[in-house]
Structures are given as C-alpha cells and as structure tokens.
C-alpha cells in the first residue's frame, strides 16, 4: 500500500522540475518581476486612475526617461563599476539641449546630436579616469557628480532666464516631448528599440559578452585578451550618452532647467538597478532586469506621491527598498547555486524484481564461472579508459582514451601503438560505416566521424529541442554508443540529458528515465530524437531484420528493441528485463547472436534504495559522493544472447584481477576483445568454437572476407 503510494507519487509528481527551473538564468529575474506585479496590483487597487490610459502614458514617459539612465547604469554595474554622476550629467545635458535650442536656436537634429555628444564627453571623463587611470569608480563618479552639479549651478545662474523666457514651438521637438504613436509615447518607443538592441548586444554580441566577462572577473577577462580598460571606459561613455537621451526627452517634455533637476536621481536609478537584480558585484544583469527595476521604483514613488506622501517619506521608502534589495541580492547570489544543488537531484521510485541467481551451484544462464580469468592484456598501463574497442578489416585495434584520443594497436601482437586521432573528449561507443569511416560517440561533445586518414569531423552535436523539457535538451550531453543501419541512419544513445558524463552516478542515484535514443541521418545530416524517457540507454546494435535496433538500458537492467522502419515502425518491445547486472554495449557475434557487456552487477542494498527515493535524496544531500551507495561496476561479465531474449552463455571473472570492469566487447577472428571505462588495459580472450574469419564490419556491410 505504502509502496504503491510512493510509486504513484514519484510517477506523477515532477520532482526534477524544481531544480531545472531554478537553474534557469531567467529565474533570477523572476523575483523582481513578481515584486512588480504585486506593486502594480496593490496600486491598481488603491488608486482610482492608476490603469487609465493617460496615467499609463504618463508613467511610460517617466519610465522611458529614467529607463535610459537605468540602461546606462546597468551597463556600468554589469562591467563591475558604478556611476553616481548620472543625476548631474542628466542636469547638464538637459541644460545643454535647452541652451542650444532656446538660446543658440540650433535645429532640432543638431541639438540632439550635440547633446548626445556632450553626454558622451561627460561620460568619457569618468571612463578615462576609471578605465584607463584605474581610479575607483565610486569615488570618481562621486567627484564628477559634484563637479558637474557645480557646473550646472553656475550655468543656470547665467542662462536660466534666457531659457525660461523662450517658448520654442517646433513640431519635431514637441513630438519628442509629448508625441505618441497609437497612444504609445515617443520616449517609450525609442526606449523599446534601444532596449531590444541592448538585449541583443548584451546576450548575443561580442562586446556585450566582454562587458559581462569583465564584471565577472576583471583579471580573467584581461588574461583572456579582452581589452579591459577600453571596454570599461566605453561603458561610462555609453552611460553618459544614454543619460543624455533621457535628458533630451525630459527637456522636450518640460523645457525647464530648475535647480533641483536630477538631484537624487542616482539613488533612484541605483535602487532600480539593484532591485531589478543587477548585482552590484558585476558580471550579472540584463536589460529586462533594468526595466523591471525602473518600473518598480517608479510605481512606488508615483504611488506614494499620488497618496500624498511627503518627499521625505518617499525617499525613506526608496532607501529602505534599496537596502532590502541589496541584502536579498547578496544572500540570493551567494546561496542560489547551493539551493540548486540541494534540489536538483530528484531521485524517483525504481523497483526491480529480485534478480535471477548468479551463484555457483544455483544454475541458470548467469551462473558464475572463471572463463575470463586468463584474458591476455593489451596496452597495460599505456591506455586509459578504453570504453569501447573496435577492429578494422586489417585487424588493427582501436580504442578511446580518457585523454581524448583514439589509440590504435597494430597486429599481430598489438604491442606497438599510436594516437590515431585526437578529439578532445572521452570517446565512448564506436562503429565503422560502409566507407570505413569510424563514427565515435564522444561524451560531452556528440557524434564524431574519423575518416580512414585520421581526419576528425563533427557529425552532430545537437538534436531537436523537446517541447516540454525545461532543461535545454538540444545539445548532446552524453552520447554513448551507436550503430549504423543499411540506409545510413546512425542510431545512438544519449545516456542522460540532466547530467554531464562525470556525473553518471548522480543519474544512477536518480534512476529516472533521463536518457534517449537519437537518430542521425548521414545522407541529410539531420538529427532527431527517436525515443526519450529511457533509464540510461547505453549499447545499441542494429537487429538482423534491418528494421529495428536493440538497445540496453543500464539502470533499467533491460534490453529493448525499437523498430525504426517497416510495419512495426515506432514500436518498442522488451527483449530481456530484470537482468542481474547493468547492461552496457551490445555487439554482433559471429554466429548471428549478440554479445552484451554487463558493466556491473546489482546489489540488494542498491535495489532496495532504488525503491526508496526519499532515502536516496537525503543521501545525495548529506553524504559525499565518494561514500554514496553505488551501482557495483567492479565486477561484471559478458553474455551472449539472441534476439528472442534468451541468454546463451556467460563469461565471468571471479576475482577481476586481470580485467576488473567490462563496458564493451568485440569479436574478431576468433577472439573477444574487452574494454572497460575505468581500466588501463584491453583484454583479449580466445573464444572456443568461434568463426576464425569473423570480421564484424565485413559481415555487417556484406563484404567478402
């Protein structure tokens, strides 16, 4: 009863989604967005005209003006700096625009260009001092805040009357100040354009990435060859220009140069920036965060004003929000990855019936023996982590190594070896195609092709993105084993979409169907996902009918068959289940049956733990991974089975001294070659009654041997 409840609960409740959602970067923006919605809702309830078109347009105008400054501030903060002088720059450029327009009577386009140039210039002073002379951003911009403010005060003493007495009536200037398109204010339109560009700039363009990199780690950015000083200087210039754009709209809207313009603006903008989630430490932020922050701050200040709160209260509220935001920001940034790592691992219920017996004297197809004890060894200590082994028609032996190489050994004694090709990732399953190209699954990279002259080519490293997957599953994380059909389709397994290769034990702990079978078409180059939701799919072999593949599910302890063509296309059938161990690679045997490597054997304690997801979840949290209960992959065996799912023979090594782990085996001219991913050797075993002329890929491609 309790077991049934557990099973149902883990079957229908998607535990794994929480961690996946939290690890999305956009969840960082989620908190301020929720805050914005709450504030918006509260205000719409307490203020009558809050949602009226005119009120919204008014808010949008202010939001646009401050939004430009927010973008500039955001940029500077992402680069790891701060710009306190935005308020003074705002005042100065506002003055500049009105002076040029009202006193010097320049045409509007010239005013715009000149004002932006002045803004850029003011920002350049900051940029020069901070970027090139490497002064502290805080103190420098504090000083320029004072200087610019003083300059502004001096200037308005002389010119405020001249500006105040002018009433320019220029349509284009009026449009900038109060115009709209379909009810959307001009400033909001321009802001949207700039914001979209800013988003693309920050997330898709090289300079944007440079800025993020500098903010993340200035030294690393410098060491990677990023022009740190110039980029930082340019950020301050951009901040100046963006501030001047905001000032232009402000000038066109109000046309005044009062003494309190821009006073305290830096606090408002800084609050908005931090509230939006742009970290003061640098390296993190986005345009959306900046916008959300600005909106929240504006709504609060406007709301308080509308509720007749006094100026002091207003500022106090903003300051408290800034303090709270900064505090939450720091705690969240510090603990986010910890929270994710606590909730990401989501074990599920996985029940297996008691395994068939393996003990000597108990009989059955899996009865242990010592046939493999005397395997001879190839490349002992010279090759590391040969997950799969393969032989070509000239008897040359190929194997992967954990250094990212394909190593080959030459007959007849397999003593001499060389690096055949360097790929850079851990090579796993391998197969030859009709033209003797070697296709290799590379953990963490994808499917690669090595031509017979050793040239490495990428076949595919992505597939179609699933509609309902929260994690982006388009990239291949752990391509594992493959086989090639007569029509040139390559079916390969991807063991898990939730973890990297070195994290396979975590996937085993979860025992969730995280893996899939993927098909790559060598003719069109297209890749698509054929099957998903498999428990660590591993070995793949094309069945004798040419219309289906056999594949192993390691943690499902089963072999299944999938029809990719013919009348039963799309069907999946269990060939064998409840194996006593964890199946790995499958390869053709000379008598038409199949070899299967059992990489490890089931233990009762892990079988029980697989039925108790809560136990495993707590284990994952409390116990270090080296001490976890693991699938036993020190002992394994090789079995031969037929397509009807009958085990014909098994080969064991009781002590496992010579060859501890078996992840793959390949029959070739009367011998069986063994690979193991944690081994530093390749095993070679003489088979009785095997076809002495059998060459796997000659038979596969029907060539005369």
């Amino acid at each position: 009863m309790r077991e049934t409840l557990t099973r149902l609960r883990y079957r229908y409740w998607p535990d794994h989604l929480l961690g996946e959602i939290l690890s999305k970067r956009w969840t960082e923006t989620a908190v301020p967005v929720i805050l914005l919605l709450i504030v918006g809702f509260a205000l719409s309830q307490s203020l009558e005209h809050f949602l009226s078109p005119s009120s919204l347009a008014d808010t949008a105008r202010q939001a646009g003006e401050i939004g430009f400054i927010g973008l500039g501030m955001g940029l500077v903060v992402i680069a790891g700096g701060i710009d306190l002088s935005v308020g003074s720059m705002f005042a100065l450029t506002d003055f500049c625009a009105l002076y040029l327009l009202d006193v010097l009577e320049w045409p509007v386009p010239a005013v715009i260009i000149a004002t932006m140039a002045v803004g850029g210039l003011l920002g350049a002073v900051n940029g020069l001092l901070i970027g090139y002379l490497r002064l502290r951003a805080f103190i420098t911009t504090l000083i320029t805040l004072i200087i610019y403010r003083s300059a502004f005060d001096l200037l308005i003493q002389r010119y405020s009357n001249a500006i105040a007495s002018a009433f320019p009536d220029i349509p284009s200037w009026n449009f900038i100040g109060g115009g709209d398109v379909l009810g959307v204010p001009s400033v909001a339109l321009v802001y949207i354009v700039v914001a979209i560009f800013g988003h693309i700039f920050l997330t898709r363009l090289r300079p944007g990435w440079h800025i993020t990199a500098i903010g993340g780690s200035r030294r690393s950015a410098y060491n990677s060859g990023i022009p740190v000083r110039r980029t930082i200087a340019l950020c301050y210039v951009a901040s100046g220009v963006l501030t001047s754009i905001g000032a232009l709209f402000f000038a066109a809207r109000l046309g005044t140069v009062g003494g309190d313009i821009g006073v305290g603006l830096e606090v408002i903008v800084l609050t908005a920036t931090v509230l939006g989630g742009i970290t003061l430490g640098g390296g993190k932020g986005s345009v959306v965060k900046s916008l959300v922050g600005v909106l929240v701050v504006l709504l609060i200040t406007n709301g308080l004003t509308a509720m007749n709160a006094r100026g002091g209260v207003n500022r106090m509220a903003l300051a408290s929000i800034l303090l709270a935001a900064a505090m939450i920001d720091i705690r969240w940034q510090k603990n986010r990855t910890r929270i994710i790592s606590k909730v990401y691992v989501a074990p599920t219920y996985h029940a297996l019936p008691p395994p068939p017996p393996t003990e000597i004297g108990q009989g059955g197809p899996f009865e242990q023996n010592d046939k493999l004890r005397n395997v001879t060894l190839i490349g002992l200590g010279r090759i590391e982590a040969p997950e799969d082994v393969i032989l070509d028609r000239n008897d040359v032996l190929y194997a992967g190594s954990r250094h990212g190489d394909i190593i080959r050994f030459f007959p007849p004694d397999y003593e001499s070896m060389e690096v055949f090709a360097h790929i850079g990732g851990q090579p796993l399953g391998m197969a030859f195609d009709r033209q003797d190209n070697l296709y290799v699954c590379i953990g963490g990279m994808g499917l690669y092709r090595i031509t017979s002259d050793g040239t490495v080519q990428k076949a595919t490293d992505e597939t179609n993105r699933s509609l309902y997957s929260v994690n982006d599953d388009s990239r291949l994380r752990l391509a594992d084993d493959l086989d090639i059909t007569d029509d040139g389709l390559i079916f390969f397994s991807e063991a898990t979409v939730r973890y990297e290769m070195d994290e396979w034990p975590v996937d085993g702990l979860e025992a969730r169907g995280n893996g899939r079978i993927i098909c790559y078409d060598t003719k069109t180059g297209a890749t698509h996902t054929a099957l998903r939701g498999l428990k660590f799919p591993n070995g793949v072999a094309v069945a004798s009918d040419g219309e289906s593949i056999l594949f192993a599910e390691t943690f499902g302890c089963s072999i299944k068959r999938y029809w990719f063509a013919g009348p039963r296309k799309g069907a999946v059938e269990i060939v064998m289940d409840n194996l006593p161990g964890y199946p790995d690679n499958i390869n053709l045997a000379s008598d038409g049956n199949y070899w299967l490597a059992l990489v490890g054997m089931r233990s009762p304690s892990l079988d029980l733990a697989w039925k108790m997801p809560g136990f495993r979840r707590r284990m994952a949290k409390r116990v270090p991974i080296d001490e976890w209960l693991f699938p036993n992959i020190n002992t394994g065996c090789v079995v031969k089975f037929n397509e009807q799912g009958k085990i014909l023979e098994s080969f064991w090594d009781l002590k496992g001294v010579n060859h501890p782990m078996i992840t793959s085996m390949r029959e070739h001219r009367g011998y069986l070659y063994l690979g193991g991913i944690a081994n530093n050797r390749i095993g070679r075993f003489k088979l009785e009654n095997a076809d002495p002329d059998f060459v796997h890929y000659d038979k596969r491609w029907r060539k005369p041997s």
């Binding site: 233990s603 029980l608 108790m612 707590r618 284990m619 409390r622 001490e627 209960l629 501890p660 050797r681």
Partner: protein
C-alpha cells in the same frame, strides 16, 4: 516540546544528532600499512581471542583451544560450543566464555571440570579480563542479540551492553554497568575497569561504585578488546571502522528496517570483518577500481586497526590495514615475548609484529 522540535529540525537539516560526520584518522591514528606487513603466524578458520600462558600463546579458534609454543600449534581441547572470549588467570587458571552465554573457570588449561560456571542472564559475553582482586571482568555486548550477531545489534541501535564482575571464589555475579552501546573488551586499570563501548565509539572507565567517565571518545572506529601493554598503557583493537554511509543508514529508520527484513545480512550496509567477497555487497563511490586499483582511502567496509594507548588512555600510535588491505577485523592483541600478536578475524589470521620495530619505527 522544544526538544522534539529541535530533533525534527536537526533531522531535516542534517544537524546535531543527525550529522553523519566521522572523525578523520589523524594524529596518532594517522594511517599506515603496518598491519599489512605483519607476519602471519597461523591461519585459522575462526580465530576469536588470544591469551598468553607463560611461554605459550593460547588461541581460541571456533570451539578449539590451540596452544602455540614455538612454531607448532597444538590443539589442547575442544569445547561443545565456540569460544567467544578467553582469559588466563594469574595463578594459571583458564577462563572461557562459550557461545556468549556461559563463562567457565578452570584451574588449569587442561582441567576436566570447571571450578565455577557462570550462566545467569549472560547473553553475549565477548571479552574476559582478570582484575587485581582475583575477580573476572566480563563484557556482554547485547541482551537481545547473540555474540556473533553484532551487526544486527548495531543496525537496531542496540544499547543493552553490560559489564559484569564474576567472582570465581564466591561464584557470584555483580553487574558493574548496563545500557552500554555494545560493550566489547575490558581491562583492569587500577581499581577501575576500562571498557570499549563500541557503538558509541569510545573507551570508558568504570569506577568500583559504577561511575563512568569517558577516557577516549569520538573514535573513527568501533573499538573492541583491550590488553595491557608492557611499560604501561594498553593495546586497543578496533574490529570495524565508521563510515559516513553507515552513520547515515543508522539515522534512516525506514531503510534499516526494510534492509534487516528483506536483505541477507551478508549484503547489508553495515561494517564487516572482511569485505570484497561478492558483488552483492554494497559498493560505495570510492570503491570503484580505477585503472585497476582501489584507493586505500576508500570508505572501509572492513578495516584493521590496533591502537597503542598510553597509561592515561590517550593514543600514542596505531597500526593499520586500510581499505585495500586484507588484515581486517582485528579483535584481539596481546604482547607475547618480544612480539605483538593479533587476531585479524576477517582473513582468519594470527599476526605477529616485533614490538621493537613498532617503538622504533613510529618513534613513540
């Protein structure tokens, strides 16, 4: 109420009693491989305890009592049940515990009838030691589980260990302590008795009035029998070592209950005297052989350890057989001549290491 809440919070957050940290082998317990270098004196089926009889060594091997003088072992006598503890009395008498439930005292090692027999409610007597006043100290591991069923007692969080004082003259039994987390091993220390409290990973001193003090606590191992050392101090053996996984399982009631009910004891997640016999044994992450080697620092399912204690009970140095070794499950150590003789119950061996090399080599 507050205690219940804090217990729940501890369980939820993995703090307080719910922490599974295990002290590291450090200081005097810094690992070495000295036990692996020990000479094998004798291979037995089921060695259990050691005693010294003048110039000969007595070994309890299952129900057999073996006498080893020189290099030739000779079976002296066989009991009807396995010997669970062995002690030589100062006057040449012999004390044996049989099957954990009975203690017999003989006048000499070949005497046919015992001078006194203690049964009563003895259940799992696993060590005997003679006290200065002529009495016999017996530790009884558990009131509910038999002497060889200690793993079940551990998994059931057993706390029913007792210490008895047996007086062969008056044939009376006096209980010195009860409610211990598996008492396994005792030695007289002046008027006090030092007792290994295995499940609480400590060595306690029990005064004649029953007052207990912790002499050596927070051990990374489960201590077992004790023996006096020449020049003051003691030899303390540890039959199994702690691992974080076992500590975790001890706090997982549902898993433990199902494990005890559904799985054969050999394959439990529990420390053992030896390991690596079947792939059905639980395997932990660091146990995976990489490049053909299992690392010695892997969490030990079985371990070999002997600790030399100073007279005040503080550890001076230690002899190890680590996770990749075989001389595991050390249950007894005695000084014999110029050697330290030990029983590694895991592989069924009686081991010998020259004392001089230990004092020199480790510089203690």
């Amino acid at each position: 109420m507050i205690a219940a809440i804090s217990a729940f919070a501890n369980r939820f957050l993995g703090r307080g009693d719910a922490t599974i940290t295990v002290p590291s082998f450090d200081g005097a317990l810094k690992p070495n491989q000295l036990l692996e270098q020990a000479e094998t004196l004798l291979a037995c089926d089921a060695p259990e305890d050691l005693a010294v009889d003048g110039d000969a060594l007595l070994i309890a091997d299952g129900p057999r009592l073996v006498r080893l003088a020189g290099s030739s072992p000779a079976e002296i006598r066989t009991f009807e049940r396995p010997i669970s503890a062995l002690a030589m009395l100062p006057a040449g008498g012999l004390a044996v515990a049989l099957g954990g439930t009975e203690v017999r005292v003989y006048d000499d090692i070949k005497a046919g009838t015992p001078t006194s027999v203690f049964t009563g409610d003895l259940n799992a007597v696993n060590a005997l030691a003679h006290a200065a006043d002529g009495t016999l100290i017996a530790t009884d591991g558990s009131m509910v589980r038999g002497f060889s069923d200690w793993a079940r007692d551990l998994m059931e969080l057993g706390a029913t260990g007792r210490v008895f004082q047996l007086d062969p003259k008056t044939r009376t039994t006096k209980q010195l302590a009860s409610g211990l987390g598996y008492a396994f091993g005792a030695v007289a220390d002046g008027g006090d008795v030092l007792v290994s409290e295995s499940w609480r990973h400590r060595l306690i001193a029990i005064a004649p009035d029953g007052a207990r003090t912790t002499v050596l606590g927070r051990l990374p191992v489960y201590p077992s029998r004790l023996a006096p050392a020449g020049g003051g101090g003691f030899w303390l053996t540890a039959f199994i070592a702690r691992t974080q996984l076992v500590e975790f399982v001890l706090r997982e009631t549902a898993f433990r209950r199902r494990m005890i009910a559904e799985i054969e004891p050999d394959y439990w997640v529990v420390p053992r005297l030896s390991s690596g016999h079947s792939f059905k044994e639980p395997l932990q992450g660091a146990h995976i052989k990489t490049m053909g080697v299992m690392k010695p620092w892997a969490p030990p399912r079985s371990y070999g350890l002997v600790i030399r204690l100073a007279a005040d009970g503080s550890p001076r140095y230690s002899l190890h057989s680590r996770a990749d070794g075989v001389n595991h499950g050390v249950v007894a150590a005695v000084e014999f001549g110029r050697d330290l003789v030990m029983i590694a119950k895991g592989p069924g061996r009686v081991l010998k290491l020259p004392l001089a090399s230990l004092d020199e080599g480790i510089g203690a």
